[in-house]
Symmetry: C2
């Protein structure tokens, strides 16, 4: 293999990392926009966020085609192979994250047809927590920082606890005032979407650990056998 070919393969791997980082940035922006649309009852923004989901989908397709080509042409082994497989997995997680953010935006459109209800604030708080987790895991990816990835992994329990409390709050709220049932059921699905974004950030943490260290993250996943798992 000539020096030129080796350099070009490095360039290809860098291109792959950059595409993943860009997808991460777009996914973060989607979540931020969805939360802003929810907080401000801003239907115009919600429509834009819902439509922007296609950008992330296109990038995921790019990553899929690019990695299949790399695998076929370069026959990578060891760390290079892990790098490529990790990129494929992380792209898929980010696509789903952006998809969930788009869903939050779509539901906020429906919510805006209902009178405002108080638990919106709690859903936004959950969103803010998951935003920091998503930011941290993408920083960890760029810096190949395993300690930061483990930190993200450990915070999934915090998200689950906040979500479970919110779920109960919404049930109580609906029981006390059945006129809020429609709005609260949509908030419930939005909270679930946000909680799932946290799960996917945790998946990225696991993939990142495998990428850098070469072994799976030890120990049981930091969550119980929750009935809210999906």
């Amino acid at each position: 293999m000539t020096e030129h070919t080796v350099k070009s393969f490095d360039d290809e791997l860098t291109h792959l990392s950059n595409t993943i980082s860009r997808m991460g940035g777009l996914a973060e922006a989607q979540l931020a926009g969805a939360l802003q649309a929810l907080a401000n009852r801003d239907s115009d923004l919600a429509v834009r966020i819902a439509a922007s989901d296609a950008q992330v989908d296109v990038l995921e397709q790019d990553v899929q085609h690019f990695t299949v080509r790399l695998l076929a042409l370069r026959q990578p082994v060891a760390a290079d192979l892990r790098h490529i497989v990790a990129a494929l997995k992380i792209a898929s997680e980010l696509e789903r994250i952006a998809d969930y953010a788009a869903n939050v935006a779509k539901r906020s459109l429906v919510l805006n047809q209902q009178p405002a209800v108080k638990p919106v604030g709690a859903v936004i708080n959950l969103g803010r927590l998951v935003q920091t987790i998503l930011k941290d895991i993408m920083d960890a990816y760029v810096e190949q920082d395993v300690a930061k990835a483990i930190g993200v992994w450990n915070r999934d329990e915090e998200v689950d606890d906040l979500y479970t409390g919110l779920f109960r709050e919404l049930i109580t709220y609906m029981m006390e005032d059945p006129r809020t049932i429609t709005a609260c059921t949509h908030l419930m699905f939005m909270a679930k979407n946000i909680e799932r974004i946290g799960d996917h950030a945790t998946n990225i943490a696991e993939t990142l650990h495998f990428l850098v260290v070469g072994t799976p993250l030890k120990g049981a996943r930091p969550k119980g056998p929750s009935v809210e798992a999906q």
Copy 2:
């Protein structure tokens, strides 16, 4: 390439197809079990179904490792490459389908702690429809039957319509009797899980079309910009 090597590659592709079929069978069994547990308020069965999800996860891991190895060692092109990439995608869809079925089972455990509510029947009807769709798409995969795949793809709208009607029914039911709110919110998430299984069957139809015909399924996806998309 010797005849032996060629034959061995065919064997590998057949092994891949067989593993996908087996995953499909397990996913179908998981959904059937979850619906039975729900219909009969059978908590023992629900626990077994929730635990069986791990089997499908293991098979998906197998498919991932096997396909990466095939891509690296065989450098397949054209139809063989499509076959391998399709297997990877379909395995991922089936893993998610089994995951959603496990979630239906887990939620039925929670539901069994509440008095029975009438809309359970409508959720089971939705499940029966999605069961036939899942069966049809796995038959289409085994037979490489594109017409059947297109049939599945077209039926996603039916699932969405039934789901939307059910969502409204549950809201009405909760408003009329707020004591049913907890049970009905769990039924709502179960219905959403089942509707998502239908979406993943539709994804498999699209992948199968690409696998056999070599082009994407033409025309817009047979569903509107639903707020219930996730």
